[in-house]
Subunit: 157 residues, 2 copies
């Protein structure tokens, strides 16, 4: 069945970020549309942001293209060029390897949603612009390190 | 600049289908968002359908995943399972290699739009379900044949 049953699609909550960063992700969850539809070459998710929530820590991808279209409410894109208010239908693209750290935050009093598409590369490195953190994903296994390569097991301070 | 300037994004009109099929594509055009944003790993387009227009001849992809979300108006998805009316926010997925021929038609009196994402595979074969036509794309070069592999230069009958 090609039409996706959105109401019954898998939902992802929480965050894999090490402490203390995971706690910053409260109010964000996602609906896994690509997974629901059997896609494997790129991910497609609806990201839901409660008022005050953010999509991620500000980051950029080495090997994966990323595309976003706002589908509900208003989000503020924060990237290296500044702040950009985006409403329904507005789109943004983040080509692989362009070191433009970005995330979306909901600064309104209403829920906001966007659809995000990202390539599923066998090897990926995401670099976090504002903190000393790097994520490496190899064949689905995720490892966080500091930018000098030392392990990051989380810091509960 | 990550935010895409949709008003100035490249637009594609017309069709590469051989005659007489190209004439069936009147009233369809697309806005090349991924190209505008510098993406290379997957295509992202807004497909605009005037009343009565169709997105393509009914087809399926051998090597490329495809995803659609309706962004304006109402479209009817026609695939091997039948007819499915889809309004804004409804989504469909077509995994690579699943022989489910599909297209979208606008049976309303208002313009309809959807966003479509498709992997850019180096080698792709699209098979057209209802007619004797196959499209092979290798490194960007497109060749149409009949299903037995003989060339198809178009038929003006």
């Amino acid at each position: 069945m090609a039409v996706i049953d959105i109401a019954n699609a898998p939902v992802k909550t929480g965050s894999i970020y090490p402490a203390p960063y995971a706690a910053e992700m409260a109010g964000r969850w996602s609906i896994r549309l690509g997974e629901a539809g059997g896609l494997t070459q790129f991910g497609v998710n609806i990201v839901v942001l409660a008022p005050g929530a953010k999509s991620s820590l500000r980051h950029w991808h080495l090997n994966e293209d990323e595309f976003v279209i706002i589908t509900e409410g208003t989000c503020t894109l924060v990237d290296d060029d500044g702040r950009h208010e985006m409403s329904v239908g507005a789109c943004a693209a983040f080509p692989a390897g362009v070191a433009n750290g970005h995330h979306f935050i909901n600064e309104t009093e209403d829920e906001a949603r966007f659809l995000v598409v990202g390539t599923k590369a066998p090897h990926e490195i995401a670099t976090y612009s504002d903190i000393d953190l790097v994520l490496e994903v190899r064949d689905g296994a995720a490892t966080f390190t500091r930018k000098d390569g030392t392990p990051c097991e989380g810091d509960s301070k």
